[in-house]
Amino acid sequence: MSRLINILGYIGRSANSFFSRLTRMTALGENAIYWVIVAPFKGKGIRWKSTIHQMVLIGFNSIPIVVVICFFVGLILAMQSAYQLERFGASIYVADLVGVAITREMGPLLTAIIVTGRSGSAIAAEIGTMKVYEEIDALQTMGLNPVRFLVVPRLIALLVMLPCLTLIADFVGIAGGLTLATLNLKISFVRYLTQTANALVLKDLITGLAKTIVFAIIIAQIGSYQGFSVEGGAEGVGKATTAAVVSSIFLIIVADLVCTIFFYSTL
């Protein structure tokens, strides 16, 4: 009997904490939307200086790692597909496979995961540390809204930079495929590119980029939510950072699945 009560109690508490987390997360989202969209019309501007600073940190500084990883993934994809296609004497279709896979899937997904690791964790750690040192409280007693001050610049930076980084990733990924094709499959430079251009339709690129908007919102929202919920000291910051990365990547993949189903079935 008492065990049953324990189990029911556990379920109740878990549900309760899940819903209170959901409420707080929604409140944070609402707040961010207010400060991005509504408040500028009321004369409370967006902090552009700090937004640009975040764009450099989140976007510009990620370019090298995005370039390297996506080039390698382009190479790998090309090798794996050549392995299959060569048997049918259809090596040229490597261009189609790599082009479509990179622009529709690998480019957006890899970029989002790299940016989560670099910036999602940084957002959680920075906001979490500020929470621990009462800096968030200090902002509030000065009448400055922490969401406007901390979340909005990062959110805008991500919304702008993630599509840009993805575009770079797409090009570099295709260049990876191209490198393998010219060096190893004896396909000429021009032929590979023409084949890629014929294989890709605008929709591939656009569905890929559309997803990154969703990913950007996930990274900013989860990172700052975890940062604001830090309790305790340095240990709390560490936990929040890990939680931010793990749950962002999970949600990004779920969102990717949902987007792909949506694009696949409707467009």
Partner: protein, 264 residues
């Protein structure tokens, strides 16, 4: 009789199921300096957090200039907050900004002053706390006492009507501590600021306070002038003012029980 600038009515607060503030009633009048004394953990910082609207009480009202801060939303609170300065126990400087930017931040956000004017005001405020020339330092490069003073400069940047200081001189050398006391008195005289100071330094209590409130276990157990307190024969008060430690635990059995976790 003048209206109180801060009026706390029957404030009750819980952290989880622990009662931290247990029916606080306190009136603070314009221009006076009130110090709040009490043992560590009795809820002084918690009380300040409630007055500036950082925490929500379970019950009770906090009227600042007549409006109940616990019932206002963020936007309605803004005019009040702009005229309040708060020095946190942990300083709470923004670690990602220079000392100068920390002090300038409220001015940049809440006023339409030109940047050169803001620079000058920032230097003036830093000069007042004895930190002139440190505006380009990062908070991490300052000592604990310097951080306190920089935080005080930030708290008074907007020339607030009400200033809250949570242990402004804890951890400072006696000379700097006296300097902070004098600064507080100067602010009171020059700007007619209402000042609420949490402190453990008895010396500074006698120097700066018009009135003293003594807290114990979430209640205000006594309030009066410093002289009232000095001459009081209440046990807790005189224990505090004459620096008498708690009696040693005499009941051996009870002590033993508390060690092995058996206390009823």
């Amino acid at each position: 009789m003048t209206q109180p600038i801060i009026e706390i009515i029957n404030l009750v607060t819980y952290y989880d199921s622990r009662k931290i503030l247990d029916g606080i009633n306190l009136q603070i009048y314009p221009g006076e300096t009130v110090t709040i004394l009490g043992r560590s953990g009795c809820g002084k910082s918690t009380l300040l957090r409630h007055i500036v609207g950082l925490s929500h009480p379970t019950d009770g009202q906090i009227l600042i200039k007549g409006s109940d801060i616990t019932r206002l939303n963020e936007e309605q609170r803004l005019p009040t907050l702009k005229k309040i300065g708060m020095l946190f126990q942990s300083s709470a400087l923004f670690n990602s900004m220079t000392v100068g930017d920390n002090v300038a931040l409220p001015l940049r956000e809440h006023t339409h002053l030109e940047e050169p004017t803001i620079q000058i005001m920032t230097r003036m405020k830093l000069d007042q706390v004895g930190l002139s020339g440190f505006e380009d330092f990062m908070p991490a490069q300052l000592s604990g006492g310097m951080k306190k003073r920089a935080a005080l400069a930030r708290a008074i940047a907007m020339d607030p009507d009400i200033l809250f200081c949570d242990e402004p001189s804890a951890g400072l050398d006696p000379i700097v501590a006296v300097g902070i006391d004098q600064l507080i008195m100067k602010l009171k005289k020059a700007f007619k600021m209402t000042i609420v100071v949490v402190t453990h330094e008895l010396a500074s209590v006698f120097q700066i306070a018009d009135r003293v409130a003594l807290m114990d276990k979430g209640k205000i157990i006594a309030i009066g002038t410093p002289d009232d307190f000095k001459n009081s024969d209440n046990e807790t008060i005189s224990q505090f003012f004459n620096r008498i430690p708690d009696p040693e635990n005499i009941d051996k059995q009870e002590y033993l029980n508390s060690l092995i976790g058996n206390s009823k």
